[in-house]
Symmetry: D2
Subunit: 189 residues, 4 copies
């Protein structure tokens, strides 16, 4: 039999229970919880994309704008995961919710007979976007933000919307928009 007792010490001076040696080890930690910085970067990227589409429309017309918008939707939204919960600011029933990439593209750049009311929200000459979060909620690989977004056109007019974004970290580690609810502020007047 292998000896069960394989070390002897002259004293029982050890603490009854100790784990001090444990503290010399630094645990490897797998924690993919989204950071606030990742969320804010994704918000800024959305604003930059909106301004870019407007610029591309001015410089290269609808073809260039559409190509940019397609790239933005492919890179920033989660349509590859499933239907995206997208309620743009200015859509109406029965086309209120744009759960497909085609519906999102139509909203941003119009020019799609299947969405006759869409005039291309991103083509309106936007020059600046300011994001003002009211609250952010992060839970593991998901994050949600709510607040105002102020967008400025070429004449300096600012439009404010109430906006919610929901993000999911994808297989490659990037945040994707799986929720986007935008609405005009309510006014009782």
């Amino acid at each position: 039999m292998m000896s069960f007792i394989n070390r002897t010490v002259a004293t029982a001076a050890l603490l009854a229970v100790s784990a001090s040696a444990a503290f010399a080890v630094t645990a490897t930690k797998i924690d993919t919880t989204i950071t606030q910085a990742e969320v804010e970067a994704a918000q800024v990227a959305w604003g930059e994309a909106l301004v870019q589409i407007s610029q591309d429309f001015e410089e290269g017309g609808i073809d260039k704008a559409r190509a940019t918008a397609e790239a933005v939707i492919a890179a920033a939204y989660g349509y590859d995961m499933g239907p995206v919960l997208f309620k743009p600011t200015l859509t109406e029933a029965p086309q209120t919710f744009r759960t497909t990439a085609e519906g999102a593209l139509a909203y941003f750049v119009g020019d799609n007979e299947a969405f006759p009311d869409d005039t291309g929200f991103a083509l309106k000459g936007w020059t600046a976007v300011e994001i003002e979060n009211a609250a952010i909620f992060i839970s593991g690989n998901t994050a949600t933000t709510m607040g105002n977004v102020h967008i400025t056109d070429a004449q300096g007019n600012v439009t404010t919307v109430d906006k919610t974004w929901g993000y999911q970290r994808d297989d490659e580690g990037n945040l994707r928009i799986i929720l986007h609810h935008s609405s005009l502020p309510f006014s009782a007047d």
Copy 2:
């Protein structure tokens, strides 16, 4: 129609895209990833329980030791979740793996005809436990440790085992042992 443009500023001095206001908001973060401190506390608690069972056996006999061991198993192991991956140091086939609470109790305090080789590992007069981690791996609500555990008997003899513990955070937030692999060190001699 509700006015789409509801705020006008005299200047377009805003940055093209800004989210500076966002930084005033501190995100709520739901992150239940286990901490290293929680892991080490669970290890120490196991050591304290072992010493306690030995003391209770000395003071109150098998009945008191069994009651303590039952409470320890109920509080520290995950048998309520399913079979626990428990390979104690001194068990033999066909009763090597103690995937049930009854099998774990038999190992710790013996006195069970269904486990005739069990003599009660926790009754051996253990007075001290020292934990020496080689590495700790934490992933979300799970954690795993590997290293040596040194246990001291009443005569001051120290036994060292190679030990792996796996923990799962339960519904109440507590870490539970769902894996426990203990083995005598190999010797080629």
Copy 3:
């Protein structure tokens, strides 16, 4: 030395690699991913609560309605976790976002000098709620829904809103609303 080779078989008829025995074991699986049924139950519960507050107001006045609303907010929303991302249908700047339980209560039952524009949305005699989801996105312990909610008053008039709800499973396993964005449908007319 303990024998390294402890079993001999007369034939090497074993497959080169086999794990058939593995299939006799059913893995314990810890998977707290929210189900669609849980999401829909939470939606129905919100509708029932709205109708209940209206009924309680009719039967017991503001005191009874407030008590019910407080209980609903405490049970269904996640204010204990942090600021809730709540944009009610009819709020205006600078009180658009109701990130505190007090702000939510004021919206539902009014009667709070700190929120002078609130007239008590839940006191309007609502008799029925119909939920029409456009899409649902579930990710681990979180879920998000988007669609229309139709609410009927005592005269049978139906109001439709665009609504997003976000849920987080709490420590006790219950879904809590941590996001609620409600807006009137946009109309270009």
Copy 4:
């Protein structure tokens, strides 16, 4: 003001609260919880790799065996994530735990002066591996198995070990071994 009441129905025949329409929507579900099939496939792959290294050693000597072993360790273990909790069957203090890829490679193919006791476990002419799980525990992106592994050499002799494997899903979706505790069965004789 936008009309708050935008739809009228002739009857209040709607249920007080209904969500029947919700059931027409199938939720997108993000659930990366490991499946039992993935776990068993990873176990089989380990067995195949062991046999492969033995074959490569026979056919191509130490260089070929080492190259294969390096590839196996790189593909199947999680050393890129941090220290791996690896306690091979036949290692001794102070080199019991092989938390580095170099230490793992030395165990499998020897030929490393820094690990003088290693003779190359994977070079022993293994021809078959049988996996017999006692229990499997899956929790989200982690999984743990415990049981016996029976390995057969060229003469048909079978060695049985008590083995625990822990897996972590990596960024690319693959399971990686972050825990491997192997020990000879205890014998009181």
